[in-house]
Symmetry: C4
Subunit: 215 residues, 4 copies
């Protein structure tokens, strides 16, 4: 009876399903990197040239990998804070996974057409939308449905929702809009955003260890 005791859904299987989707997306991305087909007798020089032409696809793959990793880490942290999952969060999670599972397409598009503003915009818009839906999930769980664990401070929770709306969607949107003016500048911004999340930061001391870990 454990599963329904709190009148809610069990979060373990939703995490497992989401992890499966994350793992598949992150691994499928490489399938876009196709081995070049050389005609006639292939020599090393020719092969080297063909591999160098793949560099934009390679870069687009690394960027997407980093972004999906960050989404996974944040998803993991949000679910760690939850007591249980209700129907609303279940469907928001499905919407989030829909956007995530779309990522292989803009990644391939950017790899193929990295000089076309449209391709650069589609890539950034997908990331903006995904991070917006993720912020929505956090808001829903923390402030609307109130399904987070009881011993978390209100200050911390409100701060985490605010950061979730400001950091991800805002930085991805800024980079996306940059693409309308300067395509290469936008790609550089895309590459910098994951670094911000990965590099260690000084978190203010007033948060407890536990809360610091969840940011």
């Amino acid at each position: 009876m454990k599963i329904f005791r709190t009148g809610s859904l069990h979060k373990g299987r939703i995490e497992a399903f989401s992890d499966g989707v994350f793992a598949i997306i992150i691994t499928l991305l490489i399938l876009e990197l196709k081995v070049p087909g050389l005609e006639g007798e292939s020599h090393d020089a020719e092969l080297a040239g063909a591999l160098i032409k793949l560099l934009p696809k390679f870069m687009s793959w690394v960027m997407s990998f980093a972004m999906v990793s960050i989404f996974w880490v944040n998803h993991h942290r949000l679910f760690n804070l939850l007591k249980h999952v209700d129907n609303g969060l279940l469907w928001l999670n499905c919407l989030f996974l829909l956007l995530l599972s779309f990522i292989p397409f803009p990644t391939a598009l950017l790899g193929e057409y990295h000089r076309e503003p449209l391709a650069v915009v589609v890539f950034g818009a997908t990331m903006t939308l995904a991070s917006l839906v993720f912020a929505w999930m956090r808001w829903y769980a923390v402030l609307y449905a109130k399904i987070v664990q009881d011993d978390l401070s209100v200050t911390f929770l409100k701060k985490s929702v605010r950061q979730s709306f400001l950091l991800g969607p805002f930085s991805y949107l800024a980079a996306t809009l940059t693409a309308l003016v300067h395509v290469t500048g936008a790609i550089v911004l895309y590459a910098l955003i994951p670094l911000y999340f990965i590099l260690p930061r000084n978190v203010e001391d007033r948060d407890s260890t536990r809360e610091r870990l969840a940011l």
Copy 2:
């Protein structure tokens, strides 16, 4: 000895395996959305035109994603009600996964030939069959093999089997038959069916919270 104490199979690994299949299907669907190959110097206008031509494939992807999500949620809920899994349910589950794993094919078919009644019918027929096998699984577990947990009311269980046969298979069949008369009408119906399952409904008060969650 926990696993065999009740003379039955452990349901954890079957859920994990099914979740894996669900996660892979839902993520593979996007692979049908191939980046368009443009000839010569590509310009944004040309790329935009090529992307717009992908819209039917995009729609077919979103519909399939929503339907597989719903199957996953319902599978999750059914297994939550079970005490254990017997051999019959094990093989029914394999049959269900066979139909589910077929979905990428009709999805691609619909995306490619959304004006051909045959493609629209094959898509709907797959969903009808999958929801029928799922209703069969529920009937088998609840009324035939009686492997559900002991504290569920008979009224609730019978109702859930009845709904399972009526809602899913019936609505998918109706949409499929519509395709024989009006192709676009059928596609609109396909798009509406998931909404019915996702949007919140008023569940009658006589069911307990727990039972309400499982419907």
Copy 3:
């Protein structure tokens, strides 16, 4: 310290990894079924003709799906009997997964060249080898490394090893050899073998319920 108390590896993560591989193989099989490309204005009749030509691929997909499902169920049952996993079984399991993950290739080969004896033989030989390695795993765990749970009767264990060597490898080998004489006959045998495993059988009464479930 639980994991190493018995001087052994934890079986949970090996099961999870194997389940992942099973789930991916079973779902990837459908990717061989490619939507036919029609030239010019496509009409339903033309599309129907193109779909009918896919029937051999469709049959080869269903057969492989059934065979992989049976391998999964048997793998699941064998691991249920184990106390823990040692290094030998770990690498045997990797060898088994290698053969399993090869299955998409002979499946595609059979779908494409179902009239060529060579394709039919390659398909059967893969299944013969996979079931032979699985029987080897069972023999290793039960009779060689003796890592099964303590309360299983020796009679039952020996019988399960004997059956494992005789049933799977023998029936797949017989079907494979038939292909050298009669190609269609071999395919019919391939289709019948899974049915033998799936349909309910009368298990002799002298086995306990638990042991019956594991056969």
Copy 4:
């Protein structure tokens, strides 16, 4: 509160996510083995010839499979030694998965161009880098962040880090450099390296059973 009691992240979900990535990579490798398309009436002799031409791809698949299996086993063993996972290890693990998920590309490259030094070098360099990052992870967990379980001997831990740096990266690097001089020799070395890890070794008696298992 269990998850954060030690001021750390839960390792279960990171293992599950990594296992998913491992399972997908290992299964995707076979997708490079494409069924040959024969023109006109195909006969067994023609098909046999086409299959024989696939042998280099087949060998490259088997080698990659073995190497990824070994990475999985070592990953599994390292995580078994950990008390918990901190942010540093989390991102090192993402970097390791990035390199792992790249493997399908050099595998396909080697299968296609097994006579080109460049292809052979790219394959070996990928494995060298992946094993180097893995050794880095082990060093980080064991000696830098000190997040291993308390009852492991310092001698054993230092030895395991030393071996991790020497064995994997060193042998892969040696094989990679060989490719600059003798392409076939390098491939033979690639094939031998996994055997070293898989075949049973005499482990010195002064390690406890538990520690022996983790090497």
